[in-house]
Amino acid sequence: MEIVPWVFLIGILSVLCIRGVHGVRHSATAPQQLPFLGGGTPDTHAWQRYHIRYYSMTLLFIAFEMEMMFMYPWAVVFVEEGGMAMMEMGMFLAILSIGIVYAWREGVFRWQ
């Protein structure tokens, strides 16, 4: 555990080195801070109520992901349980496939 102070020391030294290299630099001026638009200017801040076009996909994704979390422990006992686990997997993949097919039919995977 004596390593910890050394790590800190090295970290601080390297930060100082980097700062030293940049000591001469000035911080960004107002014209430097303008976001890059190829020379043009924006009317407003870019932070906004951003319209994500895939919002319904993310909801499907969350449910999908939760379902998948069951699959990890299942994978461990698959060989041991054999046919039983196979049926289980069949049911799982069937449920997930129904979800995908339904969502696809409803146009969830398009940019809304």
């Binding site: 994500i52 319904s56 499907l60 449910a63 379902e67 422990p73 006992v77 969502a103 146009g107």
Partner: protein, 199 residues
């Protein structure tokens, strides 16, 4: 006090502090990711409690969930980046009472639960046991959860997407009024949707 205790205390401190900062920051993105940090700390504590799968899975799940939450927070909240400072907490009196009650309830739960006294043997195959449990005694719960999640998927699709197989979801609908039988409030879906872009 060993290293384990120190680690536990540090992680608990991170979990609590970042949990508090969630309500003290102005930016929705920061709030989401602070909550994520809090969950990561909790996940690591669970790993320390000899439940590696549950702990790491918590980190995994919360990472994507907080990501999605950040997306939605930015999408639907005014001033999402907190460029103008704001109060994230509302209904102060009610929240204080609710907070105190929840704290008391959880503390009581901790104090009155009998926890196992024998430490778990580190060589216990916990993930394996969890798998056996899922395929054995808890099979029904597991299956029900699967179907419930399918229902969740379908429900979320129905509720969230406007364009579907049968046209616009809000076609012919009338927004509710602010008072009973009042004038419709909010956006009026126009008839026909003249120049909707199909893609």
């Amino acid at each position: 006090m060993g290293l384990t205790d120190l680690l536990f205390l540090a992680l608990s401190a991170v979990a609590i502090l970042s949990g508090w900062r969630v309500f003290a920051t102005d930016s929705m993105v920061r709030a989401s990711f602070l909550l994520l940090l809090s969950f990561v700390a909790v996940g690591l504590i669970i790993v320390m409690l000899a439940a590696p799968y549950i702990g790491v899975a918590t980190v995994f799940m919360m990472a994507v969930e907080m990501m999605v939450m950040a997306l939605f927070m930015v999408m639907f909240m005014m001033n999402p980046a907190g460029l103008n400072p704001m109060m994230m907490v509302h209904q102060h009196r009610f929240s204080i009472v609710a907070g105190v009650l929840a704290f008391a309830g959880l503390t009581a739960a901790i104090l009155f639960t009998s926890f196992p006294k024998i430490p778990v043997d580190p060589s216990t195959p916990v993930v394996h046991d969890l798998g056996i449990e899922l395929l054995g005694p808890s099979m029904l719960i597991f299956e029900t959860a699967g179907v419930t999640l399918l229902a969740t998927m379908i429900g979320s699709v129905i509720l969230s997407s406007r364009s579907g197989r049968f046209g616009m979801a809000d076609q012919g609908s009338r927004p509710p009024g602010l008072e009973p039988d009042g004038e419709p409030a909010g956006r009026q879906p126009e008839a026909g949707n003249g120049h909707h872009h199909h893609h």
